[in-house]
């Protein structure tokens, strides 16, 4: 395909992807089709991340960990940038992801008890 492009100027087929980094900047556009609910969401979102008993920095780190749990590429981009801006160390960022991973891994493993219960119940 590349050779065809170079030789004949044929435009190569461009692979579409489900995720486009540029779409993150268009997040606000969701209001175009439902303004009222979008406004409520963005207002609430803004309030969630304000300093409270948790600092803005702690909230950003939680968001980074959750972003990895739900594996949202937009959120990972956004909160990597946000934690860096808030002066979080790279080590702390990685520690937060390990917390997320430990809960995810632990969540699978703790279901091992359910498996054991079931296995014991139906086994002789």
């Amino acid at each position: 395909m590349l050779r065809a492009f170079l030789t004949f100027g044929v435009k190569p087929f461009i692979m579409e992807t489900y995720y486009n980094p540029a779409d993150l900047k268009k997040f606000g556009n969701i209001g175009e089709w439902e303004e009222n609910l979008a406004k409520k969401f963005f207002d609430w979102y803004g309030d969630v991340f304000k300093e409270g008993d948790l600092t803005a920095r702690e909230k950003s780190l939680i968001a980074l960990a959750v972003a990895h749990t739900i594996q949202c590429p937009y959120c990972i981009d956004a909160y990597t940038q946000d934690t860096l801006e808030k002066g979080v160390t790279e080590k702390a960022m990685m520690e937060a992801i390990h917390v997320a991973a430990a809960i995810r891994g632990g969540s699978s493993l703790v279901h091992g008890v359910q498996m054991m219960n079931k296995a014991k119940k139906i086994s002789m």
Binding site: T55, A56, Q81, G87
Partner: protein
């Protein structure tokens, strides 16, 4: 140690080339509004000074460090140095105009052989406030600099020092191997004579700038973190932390282009444009002087070779306060960095 762009004959050592990059591309194509357009949309048809309160003198581009983000492109290989004659002209202007603050920068200003003479003259002539922008490592670089903390104290100097982070990793990646450790030594030397210690009246401020293509976080929150971390881990005290946004010129522009971050960074600055930061931009109360005595609206314009408007006078030898205070400030796309988010200046956030 890396060499300056200047020593490498890099294209970005050329001021005109930097301006071409900043004026063309995404701005020429109309993808993003120019700074002038953005200003106009907020009701400013030109940017005018309020009152000149800060007289910022760049005494030369020589430095013992070669920081990756340096907007001056400073380094040991830069030989541009202000002479004593030009310094005398600066002192004369300060005495005649009663501008409150003398802000001495570089390079490492201490490396100018007439640096101490300049500070003493300014102090003796009764300048209201003298700020020295010290990179900290210079204090430990050579025995001849070890007495600088005492010298600063004797001349009632306010010390303003760069420290991009409270650990070695990020600091050294931006400022060079071993810089963090030597900066901590420098901070301790300043603390020992009373700088940064409450009630001594000796002010030691730190300047934070992001170690990459992102904006600085909230100044107050970063100050809180820096205070806790520097006290707990290094027993270091300081007064205030100022956040500064990296300006997309010189070595930081090189980093942005080389790392593929230029367009995203500019977009970030433009998206974060804060109309209320315009009021407090430092070019409205500052005048910048280069090693040859030329006048600029700020240190960044100095590095781009954008002198003050011709009608206001462009050299210290013809310094006219009232003309300068009614001048039109020269602007460009790099100005978006000073109006992004909470605003940015040599005195920290502005909005």
């Amino acid at each position: 140690m890396i060499k300056s762009l200047h020593a490498r004959h890099h294209q970005l050592a050329n001021q005109q080339r930097q301006l071409e990059i900043l004026e063309n591309g995404i701005f020429k194509s109309g993808q993003f509004p120019t700074f002038r357009k953005k200003l106009e949309s907020t009701g400013y048809h030109s940017l005018k000074p309020s009152r000149i309160e800060i007289f910022q003198v760049n005494v030369g581009y020589m430095c013992n460090q070669v920081c990756k983000h340096c907007h001056v492109d400073a380094g040991p290989d830069r030989l541009e140095i202000m002479t004593r004659e030009t310094m005398q002209q600066c002192v004369d202007v300060l005495a005649a105009t009663k501008i409150k603050t003398l802000d001495i920068t570089g390079g490492a200003p201490e490396m100018n052989p007439d640096f101490m003479w300049f500070v003493e003259q300014a102090h003796a002539s009764g300048v209201g406030e003298i700020i020295v922008r010290s990179n900290l490592t210079i204090l430990t670089a050579n025995p001849k600099y070890h007495s600088l903390p005492e010298f600063f104290k004797a001349n009632n100097v306010r010390v303003c020092s760069s420290l991009p982070f409270y650990n070695a990793g990020k600091t050294d990646r931006q400022r060079g191997e071993g810089v963090f450790e030597r900066s901590i030594q420098g901070l301790r030397m300043l603390n020992e004579v009373g700088y940064g210690i409450p009630e001594t009246g000796l002010i030691l401020d730190l300047v934070y700038n992001p170690s990459g293509a992102f904006l600085p976080g909230n100044q107050e929150q970063l100050q809180r973190d820096f205070k806790i971390e520097l006290k707990n881990h290094f027993d270091v005290d300081f007064n205030s932390l100022f956040t500064i946004t990296n300006i997309p010129i010189s070595r930081f522009l090189d980093f942005l282009i080389e790392s593929g971050n230029y367009e995203d960074y500019m977009e970030k600055l433009i998206t974060a444009f804060n109309p209320s930061a315009v009021e407090g931009v430092m070019c409205r109360n500052t005048i910048s002087i280069d090693w040859q005595g030329n006048l600029y609206d700020c240190d960044f314009n100095q590095m781009l070779g954008l002198k003050t408007s011709k009608s206001a006078g462009q050299h210290i030898s013809t310094f006219d306060l009232s003309q300068l205070e009614s001048r039109e400030i020269i602007i460009g796309q790099h100005c978006f960095a000073c109006t992004a988010g909470a605003g940015s200046s040599c005195q920290g956030s502005t909005a």
